[in-house]
């Protein structure tokens, strides 16, 4: 068993060393100027589209709002104090709840799909992958409006159920927590399936055969071989689903109602409706910092786990 798990680690080590070799070639290559030049586009990109916006966001979060939604550059902590006010705690908890439920549901629905794609889809795999990607190619708003048409009081779903005689009066589905979760799962399911699929793909089939040869049954092989080897994909999928869910506002705005007001809506409202940009920036900063530190802590834990193993 131990040897089985150790093997991919070796290949992972090899991978890091090859990455390191590539980096050292870049940074300490024969002509350092050339290698530095190659880093310029990526550096500029990060500087212009990540560091500068984040820096201006942080700067704005420490500024004061003025009349007519202007921003006065007087230093204050007040926006952060307000962002941490207990009245917004409800929204934070609600958002985390929605993100966790979405992630859980995506995992429950996504794992069997990824498993099927990887182990049983065979020739149909390509077609199925394209079908999985199609929602990515349509505009998010178009998809949302389709859901409104399907879920509405006089929508497709209600009319079908009424016609079949399953229900007597139309169900209230739209603008409820249920419709928001449905929308979120719909949008983020591919984010879960793709990393799961790629980590399942990487499992050498010989390991599974070896497990059977050594007398393990289907369930034991799945629990002791497949699942542990797929765990990196599970974690990657969960992060890729959870993090954007925390910031989502469109789904809650269109499919939700007054009771599904999430952090994303709070931020959007500060910038567009309440015109309080410094407070909006403070909420965004808090959100960003908590997500970054969360993911960082997780990676620390993960690498420690790996070392221990």
């Amino acid at each position: 068993m131990r040897t089985i798990i150790a093997a991919p680690e070796d290949s992972a080590l090899k991978e890091t060393s090859s990455v390191e070799r590539a980096l050292s070639w870049l940074v300490r290559g024969k002509d350092p100027r050339a290698s530095h030049a190659m880093l310029i586009p990526a550096t500029l990109w990060l500087l212009c589209f990540l560091l500068l916006p984040v820096a201006s966001l942080l700067a704005m979060s420490l500024a004061t709002r003025g009349p007519y939604s202007s921003v006065i550059w007087t230093f204050t902590w007040a926006n952060f104090a307000r962002a941490l006010d207990h009245k917004y705690l409800v929204i934070v908890l609600r958002t985390v709840g929605y993100a966790l439920s979405t992630t859980g549901l995506c995992l429950i629905l996504g794992f069997p799909m990824a498993y099927f794609l990887s182990f049983y889809a065979g020739k149909r795999r390509e077609t199925l992958m394209i079908l999985l990607m199609i929602p990515f190619w349509t505009s998010c708003l178009v998809a949302i409006y389709s859901w409104i048409i399907i879920l509405g009081r006089a929508g497709l779903l209600n009319n079908t159920l009424l016609w079949l005689g399953v229900i007597k009066t139309p169900l209230l589905i739209l603008n409820t927590p249920f419709s928001v979760i449905l929308g979120l799962v719909y949008f983020y399911l591919p984010f879960m399936i793709l990393p799961l699929f790629s980590s399942l793909e990487k499992i050498p089939r010989t390991y599974i055969e070896a497990s059977y040869d050594l007398g393990a049954g289907t369930i034991e092989t799945f629990v002791k071989v497949t699942l542990p080897l797929a765990l990196p994909g599970v974690f990657a999928g969960c992060i890729l689903t959870f993090v954007p869910c925390i910031g989502d506002f469109l789904t809650a705005e269109f499919l939700g109602g007054p009771k599904t007001y999430l952090i994303g809506n709070l931020v959007q409202n500060q910038f567009l409706m309440a015109q309080d940009w410094p407070f909006g920036a403070a909420v965004t900063s808090v959100l960003l910092l908590s997500l970054i530190s969360g993911v960082y802590l997780y990676q620390r834990l993960e690498s420690q786990e790996l070392e221990r193993a």
Partner: protein, 353 residues
């Protein structure tokens, strides 16, 4: 060596080729006759702008907004390229304060005389320098007669638990907080903290009954029967009533607000002359009538009233008779710090658990 030169030449040609349409566009940009018009959604006649382009040869780039605050946020954050926008009466100080709009040059608009005198020299624009009235309307309750055999008469009907999950409120501080103040017996100009505390409690109490806070989507929901009642703007409901004749509109007995939407010139516009021609065109009687006939809002244009659909002109929901008008007020002009209390109150309502 020669190979390298050709490659370099090729690159140079490729870059020049890629850039030339852009350069051409830049060069001809100044000569282009166009107006960039940023208007409320569903707020213009079908033939209005094509008619203008046909008559003058000036192109109109038309863009719509669904929310006035979003329009304001866009312009406030420095969006360039808009020449003409629509601003409600109470928005004018916010647009004037940070220099988003310019005054109209006096004497250029020959059709300004068509505007009914009672819409000129208003408190929000005393010298009529910054605004040209476009349409006016009221805020009230839109409802579906099929589900409301007994029509609503009061704002309190929106607080009736019988209709839980079947009502919607407009998603903006101006309409909801002003109604809250009205129902709690405070003047709209109140600044006292208690007044806003009561308004907040009132609106939070209503929250469990509200299906959605929305300023645009509610129309579809009303048509679909998803909503029984909605706090609404007059013309929106009457437009939706074309799709579903069961829809009706009422101004509650406690009173409500009326407002005037105005054409305003955006500062820094590159097409001032063409913009003024468009404004003058929109002021023409038949043009104003076509717009009002389409969007079902009231026109402040006396000349346009002459060619208005008779049914629209006689419709008390569009042009309320005197006994209703006396219950209608214009929104007050608020100081920036009071406006801030309004937006904070509304934010608190939306954030409340």
């Amino acid at each position: 060596m020669p190979k390298q030169v050709t490659r370099r030449e090729f690159l140079r040609l490729a870059v020049a080729g890629a850039a030339s349409p852009w350069l051409l566009a830049c060069a001809s940009g100044e000569k282009e006759r166009a107006v960039n018009f940023f208007n409320w959604s569903k707020y213009i006649g079908k033939d209005t702008l094509p008619g203008f382009t046909k008559a003058t040869g000036i192109k109109v780039n038309y863009e719509e907004f669904a929310d006035e605050q979003e329009m304001f946020a866009k312009l406030r954050s420095g969006a360039r390229g808009y020449d003409l926008i629509i601003g409600s009466d109470y928005m004018i100080p916010s647009l004037k304060g940070p220099n988003i709009i310019d005054p109209f040059p006096p004497g250029v608009l020959k059709n300004l005389a068509n505007i009914d005198a009672k819409f000129l020299n208003t408190p929000y624009d005393p010298d009529n320098a910054y605004t040209v009235p476009y349409l006016w309307g009221t805020t009230g309750i839109g409802y579906n007669k099929k589900h409301m055999p007994k029509p609503p008469t009061s704002w309190w009907d929106l607080w009736d638990e019988k209709y839980s999950g079947k009502v919607s409120m407009l998603d903006n501080a101006r309409d909801c907080v002003s109604t809250g103040l009205l129902l709690k017996g405070y003047p709209e100009t109140a600044t006292d903290e208690n007044a806003f505390k009561e308004v907040r409690e009132l609106l939070v109490k209503q929250k469990p009954l509200v299906k959605q806070y929305s300023s645009t989507q509610y129309m579809d929901s009303l048509v679909a029967g998803e909503l029984f009642m909605a706090m609404a703007w007059s013309g929106d409901v009457l437009q939706a009533a074309r799709e579903n004749p069961q829809l009706d509109y009422v101004i509650p007995k406690e009173g409500s607000y009326m407002w005037v939407d105005n054409l305003c010139l955006v500062r820094g516009s590159q097409h001032r002359e063409d913009t003024l021609r468009l404004v003058d065109y929109l002021l023409e009687g038949p043009v104003g009538a076509e717009i009002a006939n389409t969007v079902r809002y009231a026109t402040p244009n006396a000349e346009a009233k002459k060619s208005l659909d008779k049914s629209l002109l006689k419709d008390p929901r569009v042009f309320p008779p005197a006994e209703i008008t006396k219950r209608l007020n214009f929104h007050s002009l608020l100081e920036p710090d009071v406006q801030q209390i309004w937006t904070d109150t509304w934010e608190d309502v939306k954030a409340a658990g």
